[in-house]
């Protein structure tokens, strides 16, 4: 019987694979082959040429950018197996997924879980089509790792809330259309006083100031809310449920930051191959600098077990349902390895790996330098490594609170 089922799956899978190939043949333009930025995960500027737009609309129209999301909300409604087929076929022809950003990575899954029908119908489809960009209104100047300490306040005005306060680290704030934010609706309880609401970035009273990072880039903003009106229908879940919803969303962020395609992408090219371009190799094609070679192997071995761990986390989640405990380990380990890799890359390239600007540096070299600097944030945002350690020690290992 089991085998019977399997063979059915087989046929349907083959059929789907053909469908995907045909789709690519008709819709994926050659000029976009192997383009699409590494940092797709992080919302960048909205410049999009007609060809890119056409590709986004093609994929978005099918809901294949969010393959596992329900069809009724504009998703693909596909199985994990079909999703793998899409990833595989896209990869084969060097096609990228044009549907991304925080809406896909964090907000969408959360709204599907906690939003009401009307909210899902209003907000999910445009995400699936990549039409609306979302940003995250979480952190505040005086609430870093202690997120729940937030002060931005929403006063109940009957049919709407009046929101005042300041958010920071709003990623892509300057390019976003909407913001999912956690704000305080009750000062009497630290956690239960928080609500999750959706704010239009073009609403009167919303002001955005980009923050320049040590990498020279400005992917984040400070966002100021002054008497901003937020209609009641933009409240997700119940009042006071914001902390629960907000934390759930962070779990998606964590999985994305660590296991996610971005990091896997970053690790794409073997450091060994890169090193062979910069450092002497012997007759056997091996690096002459054995110490450097040992460091590279050490990193890549740890990186391999990280990928294996990520896979294991997925299997466990599937088996037990819900996000696996290992996810806190993933964030902690993945971000550390990515940072180690950037440092090692500098060691490999020497001065050539420390360029800030200038034609004498390759784009990859400059991009890696910015990535090295910006990557220092990976162990800080989305729940710092210190916070991850607390979570592991207390929730996973059951070590008591130290306070």
């Amino acid at each position: 019987m089991a085998t019977q089922l399997e063979s059915d799956d087989q046929t349907s899978e083959d059929a789907f694979r053909t469908e995907v190939r045909q789709f690519l043949a008709t819709n994926f333009p050659d000029e976009l082959r192997c383009t699409g930025n590494m940092l797709a995960g992080l919302d960048g500027p909205t410049d999009e040429n007609p060809v890119q737009k056409k590709w986004r609309e093609a994929v978005g129209g099918r809901g294949w950018g969010t393959p596992t999301w329900p069809k009724e909300y504009g998703g693909g409604g596909l199985t994990k197996g079909q999703t793998r087929i899409i990833e595989h076929e896209f990869a084969k022809v060097g096609a990228y997924n044009p549907i991304g950003g925080m809406g896909v990575m964090m907000f969408g899954p959360t709204l599907l879980e906690y939003g009401d029908e009307r909210q899902k119908l209003e907000h999910i489809p445009p995400i699936c089509r990549g039409e609306i960009r979302w940003c995250q209104g979480y952190s505040e100047p005086n609430a870093g790792s202690d997120l729940a300490n937030l002060q931005t306040f929403a006063v109940d005005k009957g049919d709407h809330y009046l929101v005042n306060g300041q958010k920071t680290w709003t990623s892509g704030g300057q390019w976003a259309d909407k913001c999912f934010a956690i704000v305080r609706t009750d000062r009497s309880d630290k956690h239960k006083g928080i609500s999750f609401m959706l704010i239009d970035m073009d609403a009167p009273g919303v002001e955005v100031r980009p923050i320049t990072m040590i990498s020279g880039t400005s992917p984040f903003c400070e966002t100021f809310f002054t008497d901003v009106k937020v209609p009641k229908e933009n409240l997700v879940g119940k009042e006071g449920q914001g902390w629960t919803i907000g934390k759930r969303l962070l779990q998606h962020e964590r999985t994305n930051i660590s296991g996610g395609g971005r990091l896997a992408g970053m690790m794409g090219q073997s450091l060994g191959d890169i090193a062979k371009k910069y450092c002497e190799t012997g007759g056997d094609g091996a690096l002459v600098n054995k110490v450097l070679r040992d460091k590279i192997a050490d990193l890549e071995i740890r990186w391999n077990s990280f990928l294996l761990t990520a896979r294991r986390a997925v299997e466990e989640s599937k088996a037990q349902g819900g996000v696996s405990e290992i996810s806190s380990v993933l964030k902690k380990v993945g971000t550390k390895l990515a940072q180690d890799r950037s440092e090692l890359l500098i060691e490999i390239r020497g001065f050539q790996g420390l360029g800030w600007e200038g034609d004498e540096f390759g784009d990859d070299e400059l991009e890696d330098v910015r990535g090295w600097l910006f990557g220092k944030a990976a162990t800080i945002y989305g729940g710092s490594t210190e916070v991850q350690n607390n979570i592991i020690a207390k929730r996973v290992l059951g070590m008591l609170d130290h306070q």
């Binding site: 060994g272 890549e300 071995i301 740890r302 077990s305 294996l308 294991r312 290992i326 902690k332 020690a393």
Partner: protein, 356 residues
């Protein structure tokens, strides 16, 4: 934990059950106290064989269960947790050599005896103080093998040796021309230098040029599985200790510095488990074995090294006493770290396999 089949679940639970009940660390203390060179309890090994553990990777046709390496690894991991002294790993490694390189006659002759536990076998490769397969001097002429092997695991209990010579692997039975010199290491287990002076040897003709390398990879994943069990045991014991030990009117487990250190070790242990299980699975699937086995043993070395040291440190004074078990893990750990490739040997191999 890798997703297991029902048989595997059962096998692991049986092993866990037996190890905790029949073979706790107290049993290893008895073995140590007895001071026999073979350094394991024959009855215990007989019991294991009885349960079919010696034949897990051996085909049913030859008296085994053919469950494969992941299954063997599950058992070895459980035995590693309680430092069970036995020639199970050594014999399984030897069996894999015969499986890969043996003729039908050789398989038919030896595998059933290995599966039944009647014969204990072991692999003899190293000739110096470090793992170095390029420096093998042992040679064979006219079916007589001559050479010196160093620090052979389970040499005293073994009656069959799989010996690496310049031109391949050979089967040598204990007897004329085979003399042992005991080399007592920190783990108090059986190790010996073996002098082969024209001992009768039968070549393993199969398996091709990569035979030795393939066998060593199997030795690596099985040792890594034992190390995984040891690391898990030290981690668990240490965590329990931190939760009950009080200092400065505070349970140690409530000190954030220790919490974060345990979080680091937990992350390491997670990485190690992923690597080791993948190594075992690779051998079963036959894909990317060399790479996966190298990663598995390298991670096992790195993590067990750290955990065995922290186990002592976090136990404080009592961890330093022979009365406490944690020191045994440290003393076994370094021996296994040095076996079948040290960390730098494995990293060199990984780089070679990766083409740099």
């Amino acid at each position: 934990m890798a997703v297991l089949s029902e048989e595997q679940e059962m096998l692991r639970n049986m092993a866990r059950d037996w190890a905790t009940k029949e073979s706790p660390v107290a049993e290893f203390r008895k073995v140590r106290a007895a001071g026999q060179p073979q350094a394991y309890n024959a009855y215990a090994y007989a019991a294991m064989a009885e349960m079919g553990w010696a034949g897990i990777i051996i085909p049913e046709a030859h008296g085994g269960s053919d469950f494969g390496f992941l299954s063997a690894g599950l058992v070895v991991e459980e035995l590693g947790k309680t430092l069970t002294a036995s020639p199970l790993v050594a014999t399984t490694i030897a069996a894999s050599a015969i499986l890969l390189g043996g003729s039908d006659e050789q398989k038919a002759k030896w595998l059933p005896r290995l599966a039944s536990g009647e014969t204990v076998a072991t692999l003899a490769v190293e000739e110096g103080t470090h793992c170095d397969t390029s420096a093998i001097e042992t040679s064979v002429s006219g079916g007589k093998l001559t050479g010196k092997k160093a620090f052979v695991h389970e040499a005293h209990g073994a009656s069959l040796f799989v010996v690496a010579a310049k031109d391949g692997l050979y089967l040598v039975e204990k007897g004329d021309g085979v003399s042992l010199t005991t080399r007592k290491l920190t783990d108090q287990r059986s190790h010996a230098d073996i002098q082969f002076a024209g001992a009768a040897a039968e070549k393993l003709e199969g398996g091709g040029d990569s035979l030795l390398g393939d066998v060593l990879d199997r030795a690596r994943v099985l040792s890594a599985a034992e190390m995984l069990g040891m690391a898990q045991a030290v981690f668990d014991t240490t965590l329990d200790y931190l939760k009950q030990r009080v200092q400065f009117n505070q349970v140690l487990a409530t000190f954030q510095a220790l919490q974060h250190r345990m979080a680091d070790l937990f992350a390491d242990l997670t990485q190690m488990r992923s690597a080791v299980e993948a190594g075992l699975q690779a051998v079963d699937s036959g894909f990317g074995v060399a790479r996966a086995a190298t990663i598995a043993k390298a991670e096992a070395n790195r993590v067990l090294h750290a955990i065995s040291n922290q186990g002592i440190q976090l136990h404080g004074g009592i961890g330093m006493t022979d009365e406490f078990n944690v020191g045994f893990y440290l003393k076994r750990a370094r021996v296994l770290e040095a076996s079948w490739g040290s960390s730098s040997y494995l990293k060199d191999r990984f780089a070679r396999l990766s083409g740099y």
